[in-house]
């Protein structure tokens, strides 16, 4: 066990934790931030993606020790009230079906648009191919991302 400090959604948190624990489980079980989802546990599906110092990272395979001292943003911290342009566009395009993968989808899209406000179609495809959706909402995800770009970005 070790004491680790994290900055999660703007708040500093100090935790007693096994340093090998994936960040995902620290968020979900210790910090009560269940918006970040467990699905595959091996970095394959993207449901668990959060921002670590602004980069989209798969929290299910990221030991919490690697996130120590870094700034972490989860879906709960993307906006205070669901007003982030991507959250709004996801509603406008009615993207979610079961909704389980959507926090991961949005966090990947947010990281992409933060870095690349006007991505090419290929850049969008490359980024979004990291997150699986069994309901097949991809076409609407694409529309929602273009909606945000067309309306001035994030």
């Amino acid at each position: 066990m070790a004491q680790i400090s994290l900055f999660v959604n703007g708040n500093q948190q100090t935790l007693e934790v096994d340093p090998d624990t994936p960040l995902l489980w620290v968020l979900r079980d210790q910090l009560g931030l269940t918006g970040t989802k467990f699905s595959c546990g091996e970095g394959q599906c993207g449901c668990c993606i959060v921002h670590v110092d602004g980069e989209a990272e798969r929290s299910c395979v990221l030991p919490v020790s690697s996130a120590a001292g870094k700034s972490i943003v989860t879906i709960e911290g993307l906006s205070l009230d669901g007003s982030h342009p991507l959250q709004q566009a996801w509603i406008a395009e009615q993207v979610p079906q079961c909704g389980y993968c959507q926090p991961g989808q949005i966090m990947v899209a947010a990281a992409l648009l933060n870095h690349t406000p006007n991505p090419s179609e290929e850049q969008i495809t490359q980024a979004m191919a990291n997150v699986l959706c069994r309901c097949g909402t991809y076409q609407r995800i694409k529309r929602a991302i273009y909606r945000v770009i067309d309306e001035g970005g994030v």
Binding site: Q44, P96, Q97, G99
Partner: protein, 696 residues
């Protein structure tokens, strides 16, 4: 007045994340009136009126709320009108509608309340949705077969209409005017001749004292008057889903809850013979290791501790009867059986093979169970909450059903995995529920059981391997017959989105295409000779959308398929196919659908888009080989599903119809594989009769 504990607003803190679930039950006002007024379940049932809405709950809190444990025990509930178990109207004008079916992405928590709200005459903006607990008072809560709208439409219209009539009667009495001159719209009762209006809220006090109107007074709207039905309404859960507040089964947190993981025999149906948990117990946070029916369970303070400890268990497995089972052998056995009788003279015969598929829901199986001395409370992402309840009560806890309470959170994909009980003697699809209950019983604490992705792929109730044989006399498509052969091996199989429609559509629609080309008739024209007018209309619409018959660019081709799953919803699709080496690409799919009267048009479109992607995954990607009794694909690495970079552009058109509404959830995927296979033949001359389609 003797007010029972049930009648109070009850707020209970349920966990570190601060999720507050309130079970709120309506006022104590007992309405006189007989159950003859309507055939809505619970209407006129004195229990329903005394206790308000049985078995419903709403999630009030959100992640991050301050922990509290509170029971408010002396508050007079606010006035509320509860005409039946599906609807409550508050004195504040807010309308609460109960969704008694499970939401897993198909939009039922939006569509069913739309039906009630429209007949009630409510403004959709005034409507909130609560999830019903498992309760036979609702009738069936099994959510499958694309049946919810289809079978609940009239019942829910009556539920809303009854509420409307009570409110109209209250307004008429207030005004001293004739009820028959009033109508309700936009959460207002309006007196047609004078234009006077009263909003629902202020009418609730009086309305809740009035007798139930007789059935003769409760009439359903003329569909031409629908205001909500037929308009696209956004999904009620989206805001919560997109901010991380939505509570899926995986997100349930209770005070004092422990986390569990189960080590299972890799061979399906195998059992633990013995185990050594010395190393597992050394993992910090591990509280208990217990043997249950399906394996060895590790219980810990956090999920990761349970997963780590599970990996350290040394288990000797007894693989049981399946140890020598191979799906390749089973497939050959089916083909041998299918081909046992040689074709008759002039008979055209083909076999079509569909392999085992996994459900691969993004949310793995999970269940939260709190077994106490006097019963059990469960939070289960299930399509069949009443089945969960009775199975746990009768078969696990050996108690009466009233001792078991089942909450249904949001479900991160289901596709049939969370629906059925399964055949006797085989593992049942409430397997994960039974495990959680057994573990909670053993450790005497609330337990949140998490299946890993490997558990989920390796211990699914797979779509069954099948061979479908289709035959027809060489010149007569109307002589077409089909028979489907499945193995009776002890591999657990179950419902999988659209169930038998998958092999039926693949076989039938591939065969029709083959027959058309054999006999030199255009596949769209051939269908004209045997399809019903409604079916032919969607075929014609899809063909027109795709420009059927117009030339395609070199290196691409079209294929068409039609299917009505369970004979109810007519869907035709045209797929365009190109190749990249030997890999099949699908740049566009055109889809026409006739599902009768449409409740929520955008949801119909969304379900067709979803079905097509699901169908394409079955056509091109997924299959689950079984070798020596074990599922050989246990990761998205080797069980790929369609990704963002592989999707077609999908266009959907809905046929306008005033026929009775049917279903949509499982209607989109059956035609996709045969449409692609037919396009592949048109492009390459290779007829592929086995899923997933592989060019040689």
């Amino acid at each position: 007045m003797d007010i029972s504990r049930r009648d109070f607003l009850k707020a209970t803190f349920v966990g570190g994340s601060g999720l507050v679930i309130a079970v709120y039950l309506a006022g104590c006002k007992r309405l006189p009136g007989g159950s003859e007024a309507t055939d809505v379940p619970g209407a006129g049932d004195s229990l329903s009126f005394a206790a308000g809405t049985p078995g419903s709950e709403t999630i009030l809190g959100e992640t991050g709320a301050a922990p509290m444990v509170e029971e408010i025990s002396a508050v007079e509930p606010p006035a509320e009108l509860v005409p039946n178990i599906f609807v409550k109207i508050g004195a504040d004008g807010l309308v609460t509608i109960i969704s008694h079916r499970s939401e897993m992405g198909q939009g039922v928590r939006t569509a069913l309340p739309m039906i009630v709200a429209d007949e009630l005459g409510a403004n959709w903006n005034d409507v909130g949705v609560e999830q019903g607990l498992a309760d036979t008072a609702y009738g069936s809560q099994g959510t499958g077969g694309s049946l919810s709208v289809q079978t609940c439409f009239t019942m829910l219209r009556k539920a809303g209409a009854l509420g409307r009539q009570i409110l109209i009667n209250a307004a008429a009495q207030t005004w001293g005017l004739e009820a028959s001159d009033c109508y309700a719209e936009n959460s207002l009762v309006i007196h047609r001749p004078s234009g006077q209006q009263l909003s629902f809220g202020p009418l609730v006090g009086l309305a809740s004292t009035l007798p139930l109107p007789p059935a003769s007074q409760v009439s359903l709207k003329d569909p031409a008057e629908f205001k909500i039905i037929g308009t696209s309404k956004g999904r009620v859960d989206n805001a919560d889903i997109l901010t991380g507040k939505a509570v899926f089964g995986m997100d349930v947190r209770l005070p004092g809850m422990l986390y569990a993981a189960v080590a299972r025999c890799p061979v399906i149906g195998g059992k633990a013979a013995s185990y050594d948990d010395t190393a597992a117990r050394q993992v910090p946070g591990v509280r208990e290791v217990v043997q249950i029916d399906n394996g060895i369970a590790v219980v810990a303070e956090q999920t990761y501790q349970a997963l780590r400890a599970k990996a350290l268990l040394k288990v000797t497995w007894d693989p049981g009867a399946n140890a020598s089972l191979n799906s390749a052998d089973l497939e050959q056995e089916l083909l041998d059986r299918a081909n046992f009788t040689p074709p008759a003279e002039g008979e055209f015969v083909q076999n079509y093979i569909v392999p085992y598929f996994a459900h691969a829901t993004m949310e793995p199986m999970n269940c939260t169970s709190d077994v106490k001395a006097d019963g059990c409370e469960l939070w289960v992402p299930t399509q069949n909450s009443q089945l969960v309840l009775t199975n746990v009560a009768f078969s696990v806890l050996k108690t009466s059903p009233d001792k078991v309470k089942v909450h249904v959170p949001l479900i991160g994909g289901a596709f049939g995995r969370r629906l059925e009980e399964g055949p006797a003697g085989l593992p049942v699809s409430v397997d994960y529920v039974r495990e959680a209950v057994q573990i909670s019983q053993a450790v005497q604490a609330p337990v949140h059981l998490v299946w890993t992705r490997q558990d989920d792929f390796g211990h699914d109730m797979y779509h069954p391997l099948s061979v479908t044989q289709v035959k027809a006399r060489g010149d007569q498509i109307k002589t077409l017959t089909m028979r489907r052969l499945e193995v009776s091996a002890s591999i657990p199989v179950g419902y999988w989105r659209s169930v038998t429609n998958i092999p039926e559509a693949f076989a039938h629609e591939s065969f029709v295409d083959e027959f058309a080309l054999e006999t030199g008739v255009d596949p769209v024209e051939l269908r004209r000779s045997f399809l019903s007018p409604r079916a032919q209309a969607v075929v014609d619409m899809a063909a027109e959308m795709a420009g059927w018959g117009s030339p395609m660019p070199a290196g691409s081709a079209r294929g068409i398929a039609y299917h009505a799953a369970w004979g109810v919803t007519h869907v035709a699709q045209v797929a365009e196919v190109t190749l990249s080496g030997n890999e099949i690409r699908v740049p566009r799919v055109f889809c026409a659908v006739d599902c009768g009267l449409v409740i929520n048009p955008d949801m119909v479109v969304a379900q067709m888009e979803s079905g097509i992607i699901f169908g394409m995954t079955a056509a091109l990607k997924e299959f689950m080989p079984i070798e020596n009794g074990a599922a050989m694909r246990t990761s998205f690495r080797d069980y790929p599903i369609l990704r963002f970079d592989e999707i077609p552009q999908v266009e959907v058109q809905i046929v306008l119809s005033s026929e009775a509404p049917t279903g949509i959830g499982e209607m989109g995927n059956p035609p996709t594989a045969p449409a692609i296979a037919n396009a592949v033949f048109a492009l390459t001359g290779q007829r592929l009769r086995r899923l997933p389609l592989r060019l040689v």
